[in-house]
Subunit: 358 residues, 2 copies
């Protein structure tokens, strides 16, 4: 089959890790008989430098003309909060999520077998395994609500952010979570703050309705503060964790760190029809950019997610994941994940080794 992929190489180490992911894509194409063609799309700090805007006009259209989007990383201190909003890379991230309707952010946090030692938790906990999938709502809530800023008489300036959720928004992300749980260990933990927030009470009532539609999937409500604790205490208890945008931002990063291997973790942001967007969860790491030091594995595993969720090519996805696990099992490490005494390899060599395993 033929697939068109938009490449947002982005800033910092973005171009390097995307470069290796493209090598892997080509290797997969060769082995399984697909053709991947690429379109470069400018977004992030590099776009600000080139055209004065982090989200150039026509970006969404260019992406929509493709079957999936692969993003390396955007951002860096060069384009900080002192810049106007349209020049800041995070503005572009939020805009592309909204314009492509990418309401479901899938963030697996799993301890890969060869990397168990990297887990910051005690050995006993790590040995019980961690394999959860955070499903974060990505186009609603306080990220996209109304902002206010006004002068008061007695309290100085005052600002406000509005968090809103509709039944429709909650139901579609909830359904994704239940469907995904069916393909996994059949358990959904829905995280909210229903003892305080109105949006959380609506969230919970919709989730309860869905739970009845999926009687084969175990369901629980977890308060967000308790979830933040449980992720440290016993992350192995979770399978699919579904939550709203802001809670998901915090908890998915916490869950990632609990695995100890940020450099290995991929993500997928998907909607109902437009192309899905795939990206490593790590940042642009400008300090090591251009030095062949970055770890390309998270981006390569993002390509595996692309195969699975956008192209429904499960064998191809599994082959990439197996290749990564194989290279790690052979002991190869980039600098970020190298144990003491191991000589790290570079970005390119890691990419080459994974291609060879394919």
């Amino acid at each position: 089959m033929d697939f068109k992929i938009a490449l947002i190489r982005g800033d910092g180490i973005g171009p390097e890790v995307v470069g290796e992911a493209v090598k892997v894509l080509d290797a997969v194409g060769e082995r399984f008989g697909h053709t991947f063609t690429y379109t470069d799309v400018l977004l992030g700090g590099c776009a600000t430098d080139a055209v004065g805007k982090s989200y150039p006009d026509g970006t969404a259209e260019k992406c929509k003309a493709c079957d999936a989007v692969l993003l390396g990383a955007v951002g860096g201190p060069k384009w900080g909060s002192d810049r106007p909003a349209e020049e800041r890379p995070e503005t572009a991230l939020l805009a592309i999520r909204r314009d492509l309707g990418l309401y479901a952010n899938l963030r697996p946090a799993a301890l890969r077998p060869a990397m168990a030692d990297a887990c910051p938790l005690k050995k006993e906990t790590a040995e019980q395994g961690i394999d959860l999938l955070m499903v974060r709502e990505l186009t609603g809530g306080i990220y996209f609500g109304q902002r206010e800023k006004y002068q008061t008489e007695d309290r100085g300036m005052e600002c406000a952010d509005r968090m809103a959720y509709s039944e429709m928004e909650i139901e579609r992300i909830g359904r994704r979570a239940f469907e995904l749980a069916r393909l996994r260990r059949k358990k959904v933990s829905s995280v909210d703050k229903a003892n305080v927030l109105e949006t959380s009470r609506l969230w919970r009532s919709v989730m309860h309705r869905l739970a009845e539609e999926y009687p084969d999937v175990a369901y629980e409500d977890v308060l967000v503060d308790n979830c933040a604790m449980q992720l440290v205490r016993a992350p192995g208890q979770f399978d699919v964790v579904v939550t709203e945008n802001m809670f998901g931002d915090i908890l998915s990063d916490e869950a990632s760190m609990v695995t100890g291997s940020i450099g290995l973790l991929p993500s997928a942001s998907i909607g109902d029809s437009a192309p899905g967007l795939y990206e490593p969860i790590h940042g642009s790491a400008p300090d090591i950019a251009g030095q062949d030091k970055a770890n390309p594995i998270a981006t390569i595993l993002s390509v595996a997610m692309m195969m699975r969720y956008s192209f429904h090519l499960e064998a191809e996805a599994s082959a990439i994941e197996a290749a990564v696990d194989g290279v790690l099992a052979d002991g190869w490490r980039t600098a970020d994940i190298a144990e003491a005494g191991v000589t790290p390899i570079g970005t390119k060599q890691m990419g080459d080794l994974i291609c060879q395993k394919l």
Copy 2:
């Protein structure tokens, strides 16, 4: 000196742990020559059972007639989210915070020397020590903002919660954080989501202004998602962490769990004038209520915070903390913190042992 203390014994194990804390108060009184007198105040599920409301009329006035409030724990499955708001214990908690103006919630998360093994993190991390103080804004933000609920044409029901912050609110909590840092390791980490939220941008600008007023205190901005990661990766890096209400709810519970000893952690909620409120961070644990199994240490350490922050009795505060550490160093444990092979002691015996050390 004479001090009046309001006792909110509350639900579940609340009455038991408050009972032991009162024994400790009396022992402190005897040793240091103070008189503590007590007024019982009804609040929480027990109040709902008694008078149909979790926050009976006149509660705030009764507390204001005292010099400090000690709270055991409130809540339990008996008074769940199916009850009307005024019967739910958490409604009472939010109301008393508001009515007493308790805008600063201080939550120390420290690894006590004898308890280092309880830390869920790897030994190497635990050995670097954890000793941070979360300063959570407690009377503003999305906890107290406007709620909306309405029917839409095409998206079903929709709800909204408003997060607002004024310069005045941010400045007073920020000032507390800097003052507290001066008494500690002189570092403030301010947590926000300034790349997304308007309230966070105001938060950050006020904090930057304060940081200039406290040049002797090191200052950093930390994004909330990054903070959730750093608390797992290297909690030893933090001294005072200041943040808004909702982020503080999540991060202070995460930080507590990182120490591994929820049963030991106290908290203080203070304002500018009204009595401060002191309570353990653990819940009401209805499953073990009335069985002499609860750990009274968190409540006893809350009394130490009361000495320090409400009464400015530093020697008394330190004496209580030293007594607790002494009993732990002698190897005494309640069931919740007993290592394998250790025979746990009961609530009362733990209280007695701590009094003896005093």
